[in-house]
Symmetry: D2
Subunit: 328 residues, 4 copies
């Protein structure tokens, strides 16, 4: 891989739409233990236990559940210019976001990636108090940091190549469909930080947003969060019971917020940055691929996902079907 003149550090935050901010605050703050850095009439800026910056999650009031954008942090301000130049060359739709247009954040470059996903790149963000060793101020749901985003798109071959070649993403694991000459990529777990992923791309009706994954320290912390959520009355928001994925080796639970945006509480991946890393290959038919053990997911988990927004108009992008075998 040739050296880039920019460096994408990691997936840093996401912005999703909620229809009722009070109800959302109840879920995300009381239920999931996020800390509110700032809020206004239309937004909640949330951070997790490890975060030393303004937010890792923005909830924005709107008409229905949707992904407004995901954001990657770069390692230097000039990386944004290098990316801008690259996207001009590639003909990618983009716009600059002014400093503080997203509160607490410096200038940012927003694009619609070739799969339709609204993606932002930024360097600067206000600092905020890190709660890591303030154990006494942490609740029963101990989310440490954002980990990854999982998107459903209709053009995985193109998008996989695009992230690999142009943005320097590496692949930790991937799934193929078909056999022999018919074999083609069905999904890819791609990363910039040396974990399993910052971004998962899956072939399905799209563009849609399947979930944001948040890191917890261990399986017990994930179970504790379930107990806490259930006792608060959010039992039906626990969409998929805890289990282990084959792909990524993650221990997970999946939640839906009151509007239907999906979250994963996630732990258990591994170091992926050795230079001779060979991506783990799964076949779509492998029975332990998605569910290493335990019962299969409910239909909602396989079929439901939220739309994504147009970075210019804020309207929801139309969702296209694909001919390929669809199956999460």
């Amino acid at each position: 891989m040739d050296k880039k003149n920019f460096d994408i550090v990691r997936l840093h935050h996401a912005e999703v739409t909620v229809t009722d901010l009070d109800r959302a605050r109840e879920f995300y703050v009381n239920g999931l233990g996020f800390f509110v850095t700032e809020s206004d009439e239309n937004h909640l800026y949330l951070r997790a236990i490890e975060d030393a910056n303004h937010h890792c999650l923005v909830l924005t009031k709107g008409e229905q559940a949707s992904l407004k954008h995901i954001a990657y942090r770069v390692s230097a301000d000039e990386d944004l210019d290098a990316l801008d130049e690259l996207f001009t060359t590639l003909g990618v739709k983009k716009r600059w976001v002014a400093p503080n247009e997203e509160k607490g954040q410096g200038r940012a470059l927003k694009i619609r990636d070739p799969g339709g996903i609204p993606v932002e790149f930024f360097y600067e963000m206000d600092k905020a108090e890190r709660m890591l060793q303030n154990y006494h101020l942490q609740g029963n749901s101990k989310i440490k940091r954002i980990d990854h985003a999982n998107c459903l798109i209709t053009n995985i071959d193109d998008l996989y190549a695009w992230y690999s070649e142009h943005l320097g993403f590496k692949t930790s694991e991937y799934t193929v469909n078909g056999y022999g000459e018919e074999e083609n990529i069905w999904a890819a777990w791609m990363h910039r930080k040396p974990s399993v992923h910052d971004l998962a791309l899956i072939s399905d009706k799209g563009p849609r947003f399947h979930h944001i994954g948040f890191w917890m320290d261990d399986a017990k912390s994930i179970l504790d969060a379930c107990d806490h959520l259930a006792a608060l009355g959010y039992y039906a928001n626990i969409e998929r019971s805890p289990g282990r994925h084959g792909t990524s080796n993650a221990f997970f639970v999946y939640l839906r917020d009151p509007d239907g945006n999906r979250l994963e509480l996630y732990t258990g991946d591994y170091f992926t940055n050795d230079p001779d890393w060979e991506p783990v290959k799964w076949h779509l038919d492998h029975p332990q691929r998605a569910t290493f053990w335990g019962a299969l997911p409910p239909d909602s988990w396989k079929k439901e996902a939220v739309p994504v927004e147009d970075i210019f108009t804020g309207e929801l992008l139309p969702i296209h079907t694909i001919r390929r075998y669809e199956k999460i």
Copy 2:
């Protein structure tokens, strides 16, 4: 409650039928970490990590999955005579089991309880090496001891009264169906040892055997067992994903052995022996009753259970339906 002239200590072991002993050994010993105390052509006598006696589980070769019996231990040999007398008075079908007819065990009294469940009472059993602090000899599935049996029966009113009044079982939690004057008992968690249960009785087609519950120290141990089983290829034997029950507050996972006998790996209950204990009452309609959080169980878990054997002939007892609302 009047004082009995016998003392039932706890559920001590169970005997189930398997069709292939080698395959069963693979699952129970390699997969679940049971220790083989003794075996012969038709039996495997297994014990768990805490056990200081010959067995807590007997696998017996036969035609199909079934429950051959569950056994309670009493605190003195003469308790068996007191029980024999009681059962004569009550007109319960019974027979004496000679010492060593069940290997390693002294004389025992076997009955068909009024719900049809084959139940044994015994006092004496050979000692065996306890593995509790032999951590180095324990595998990845660390089952500590047997905890309870869960049976489906058609006459809960009678059976609940029978275990309460005649055998001195107490109730930790129970479920009712219907409202007001229509309310009736649908299920009961009953115990002799001061835990949530030695015996769960549930109204459903019966008599059938739903599962045996085995105790593990904590949730992490249950997850470790899942990883180990799945890596051995037993992923499809993990019937219901880990979760928490409302009733009993247990953290669980449910497994099926290769023949379909069901096991629960269980942790997390509480002390139930205070004299003013008020049984926890659940309504069948309470959404957190069976599943405190997480996705609902698969249909198989709700609908499938194995038959039980006649204590005289070894034949399978016929299964009766009931008119009551059936729902686990």
Copy 3:
């Protein structure tokens, strides 16, 4: 063992002296997560997560750290009369405690046991809300219930026999000192509930109170409590690092409250009520007896303990030395 005409259920609560109730509330409620059922100028009545009664711990204002009493619950009110009669016969110092003299509690019988320990027996106590499934109201220190008391006494032979013969305590594990004909009992773990212990007796300068043990569900919960306490500034109150005992197999951490009363957070014991249980025997010289793994305890843990009170005068009983080899 002959049948008694009374039944001691379990160690149910303890009362210790603290010199500053506000400071103690900070530690026990904010730090350890106890729930305050009631309080007055001189007392805090606390309960743990599982408790359905008024208190499992009473903090009483006084001059210095000390044990005021430990209390066992009996299974019927008339058991108290049977015990009264027994203690009269045995010449044990005793007095009746009027209903509500200890708030929320019915009549009780208080004795000085032959080792000097102030012990109470009671049957009735007011109910209180059980917090078991109110996970959202639980803090980071999740104490489930009281488990045992650990006392240092100078006459173990007598006291061990006394609890065994007269009160029906069983022994799960014990430690001997000396070899061959010189062998004698140095410590005993005794129980009424079928766990490792309600009461540990250890030969040392006495009578003194070493600690109360509280049950937590698992090791992770104990570590979470340490993080929470340390973040609150109570790091120096964590006297002995987490570890495992050989005797009892417990996973533990030891704390000192701001006055020096010692608490153990405890998990991991086993079922002890099988009728052929053979007490586990340890020799005082066994290197894994007290510390199954990990570094040895600090001197304070071995040498410090608080005095106990006279049940009549409330004065502290004098502390006697013994000739026997002293070593925890």
Copy 4:
């Protein structure tokens, strides 16, 4: 920080001396669960559960416990030439290691860093089977990967600057001694991978090697390893009880191998690669710096460390004292 023409990925392996390979195999393989990739008369090449390469730890037969070298992996073969050039410029003592001189490894560049530590850089290593999802082949000690090395050196100012400026290491946390104008760096936690550290440098008599840290998934896994080791008889090898560090926030236990080489089982750090990361500053006097909670470490942990080898002669480097306040 200016861009380097090489990229150091992470600490990748270490080589330590043991005096008895059979005894060491017993400890590292049976006790700690390392997998043997290859062995010969004088070496054991070990890998951990996550490793997809030949080794993360080499045990080499010799006269006494010592560090032979630690090794960093670079992201391209030509990085080695760039480093060679850099070291020439800097006047660093170095030598090339031929391919397979260290089994399974390509060419490597070995240096004596300015603190005296023997350090190797390499790119290529043979692949080996990764055991991550072979849960059934993993034992009770589940070491996932190597995490960091901890070295005692006498010239921290120089060495800290050297790793920062010349090799591109970043600092996650550091400790200062003295106040105001007297303040100086006492220790630094430095990283290439985005974790707390690949390398910890501490001011003390040196050069000496304090420990290698290995990553485990969670605290429970560390406790399980302790149980397993203790049951095998290695209780005295558990030098320091489990606890949490202030610096790094790690949950740890410290072990000594049969020769005295020290290992840390480690979990719980955090993401450190955000471009505005501000190193966490601790003062040497902060009571929660080294021990966030729990008892203080034993003297051996503070005072003992093993010597390091000369990269040319294999002889042990002399150990120098420093005038600065010495305290771990």
